[in-house]
């Protein structure tokens, strides 16, 4: 019992310890070494951040995340359905191709993509950032959705075909409604991935497209610890919110064949 409580305390400390310094930093107006706590608290930086160009980054990040999510779903829902239901000749190859960019270190992959994107004038543009986000987003989406569709018994579809429904009608009236919770979960995963994606955004987007993580990075590099902390806290909020939702709707079996933990 005591051990268990200690365990929880330790876990809480490990998780929230580093975060607590973020909160402290965000309210610190003056904090010099060797003081353990800030000498002066205040909301100066909060006001500065919320009134400044960070809000633009925040909005931009959300916009990009929404677009990335929509594009991934449009592309991967049909693909995942086909992979889950039909005997596709090179199924494992297709799935592996989707994993490949994740198998290599991100930096070289993205740098090479950047070279390619220069050719098409995509560097420093929002479409460029969307594309680079899609590299990772499609992986999350395909792997989750294949499991989602596999978890729906084929007999439910056969029963509908049997009473006269066309394949397309079966998909819209039976399969899709049953897959909605899983698709929502995949959408959340992709949305969060896009919102937090940093490496690709920095390489492809800057200096014209500044998403939240890039903004945070720039602030931290400029020793504006307060601004960086506030950005970090703001970035965490949607994550926490959506993960709570995710937890409620995501069935564990959807994650079973999902490689990345």
């Amino acid at each position: 019992m005591v051990l268990k409580t200690l365990g929880y305390a330790l876990a809480l400390f490990v998780i929230f310890g580093p975060l607590s310094s973020l909160v402290l930093w965000s309210f610190a107006e003056k904090w010099y070494w060797p003081h353990l706590f800030p000498q002066q608290y205040g909301t100066f930086y909060w006001k500065k951040v919320l009134g400044g160009n960070m809000v633009d980054s925040l909005i931009l990040s959300f916009e990009i995340a929404v677009v990335v999510t929509l594009v991934s779903l449009v592309l991967t829902v049909p693909l995942a359905y086909l992979l889950a239901r039909y005997r596709v000749p090179v199924k494992s190859l297709i799935l592996t191709v989707f994993l490949l960019p994740q198998a290599f270190p991100q930096l070289p992959v993205f740098t090479n993509t950047m070279v390619l994107m220069y050719k098409y004038d995509l560097v420093g543009t929002v479409p460029g950032v969307v594309l680079i986000h899609l590299v990772g987003a499609l992986v999350f989406s395909v792997w989750t959705l294949v499991s989602v569709f596999r978890s729906i018994p084929a007999s439910l579809e056969e029963a509908a075909v049997n009473v006269g429904a066309s394949r397309i009608r079966v998909f819209w009236t039976i399969t899709l409604p049953l897959a909605i919770p899983g698709i929502a979960a995949a959408a959340l995963l992709v949305f969060l991935y896009s919102l937090d994606e940093f490496t690709g955004s920095l390489l492809i987007g800057s200096p014209f497209v500044i998403t939240m993580p890039v903004y945070m990075y720039n602030s931290a590099m400029g020793y504006e610890m307060q601004v960086a902390s506030i950005t970090a806290l703001l970035l965490m909020l949607p994550g926490i919110l959506l993960l709570v939702l995710l937890e409620r709707y995501l069935k564990s079996e959807y994650l079973s064949s999902f490689g990345r933990g």
Partner: protein, 358 residues
């Protein structure tokens, strides 16, 4: 109009494995056919070919005068009842049943009338069927809903794929009777796939026993039970015992004992060689002395054990090193030397090629 369903020379292969081989079968209009067999015998494959979920490699399927072999499942007017019910959990019970009717573009009033009529037929409580989801019902009730969904379309052929195997024994017994009487009442041609021989024998007009993608024997339940044409059929149906016997110079030897069986007992030409004698547990009788009438043959053995099985006792007898189980209603016998009397008309002898299945 002739609405018999005729299956001729049907073949189906999965990659290299033969799933169905030269299936020939007629389902008379309004009849109930049970397809029985061990798992992997092709019974479900046959049913899926009839529904159109699987394309056959060769052969024809005719519903009446219509050749449906290459029709897509949507146009076959079959209705299937699945082992896992396959009800749509995101729709109300009403919408589940009305789904097919809506596709037919019937008007709302008519759909409603039909749905409620069929719910009454399958004896399902109609309160709140427009609100309640199938998952709120018990397994037996869910299978009634699935049955209603299938029957409401007045199909040409009702296909049932082990519909009762997920249910408790009590519910199963009851639904068996109900499905059978419903099928008779509506006059629907039905196929029922099962691995449960009690189910097959008790429900069907015609039983099809399959093995390794082939039909072993087709006939009325009694025909199959009392007139098995192969060792497999005799061994598969009922609590069967197999004794290895040998025919030599017109005599039949069980170890050192001889018995006298008429030629009718032999399901194949009799000659010298090894044979398998099949007798069911409930047909054999234990006694303290040989029968002494030509209707019975007797073998001397040792009673090893008597097991209580509820409806009676199961006696384990060893005859010349071979095991035999005999069923009786009481336990009057003491362990030790006994005679097993077997009615000649219930002894089936097959040549031993391949031997017993196990």
């Amino acid at each position: 109009m002739n609405m018999d369903i005729r299956i001729e020379h049907l073949y189906k292969k999965y990659r290299d494995k033969t799933a169905l081989s030269d299936i020939n079968l007629t389902l008379p209009a309004g009849s109930f056919t049970a397809i029985l067999g061990p798992s992997g015998c092709g019974k479900t494959t046959l049913m899926r070919c009839l529904a159109g979920f699987l394309q056959v490699d060769a052969g024809t399927i005719r519903f009446g005068d219509r050749d449906v072999t290459h029709l897509p499942p949507q146009n076959r007017q079959t209705a299937m009842v699945f082992q896992n019910y396959a009800l749509w959990p995101h729709m109300s019970v009403y919408d589940n049943i009305a789904y097919g009717l809506k596709l037919k573009k019937l008007d709302k009033k008519e759909i409603e009338k039909k749905v409620y009529a069929i719910l009454e037929k399958v004896e399902l409580d109609t309160t709140d069927v427009k609100k309640r989801r199938p998952t709120e019902y018990s397994g037996g009730q869910q299978q009634r809903i699935a049955l209603a969904r299938a029957l409401v379309l007045e199909p040409k052929l009702l296909l049932m794929d082990e519909p009762l195997s997920n249910l408790d024994a009590k519910v199963r017994q009851r639904l068996r009777v109900e499905i059978r009487s419903l099928q008779k009442e509506l006059g629907i041609t039905a196929i029922y796939v099962t691995h449960d021989q009690d189910e097959a024998l008790s429900m069907a007009d015609q039983v099809v026993l399959m093995k390794d993608g082939r039909i072993e024997q087709v006939g009325e339940p009694e025909q199959l039970y009392y007139g098995p044409q192969s060792y497999f059929v005799s061994h598969f149906l009922g609590n069967s015992n197999t004794l290895k016997v040998e025919s030599k110079n017109g005599k039949i030897f069980v170890g050192s004992q001889t018995i006298d069986l008429p030629p009718e007992a032999f399901r194949a030409r009799r000659g010298d060689g090894r044979y398998l004698l099949v007798v069911r547990s409930e047909d054999a009788v234990l006694a303290t002395e040989p029968a002494g009438t030509p209707e019975f043959v007797s073998l001397r053995g040792v009673l090893r054990e008597s097991l209580f099985v509820g409806s009676g006792y199961r006696h384990w007898v060893q005859i010349e090193g071979q095991n035999l189980f005999v069923h009786s209603d009481d336990r009057r016998m003491d362990k030790g030397d006994v005679y097993v009397r077997m009615p000649v008309s219930r002894c089936f002898v097959f040549p031993e090629n391949g031997g017993p299945e196990e």
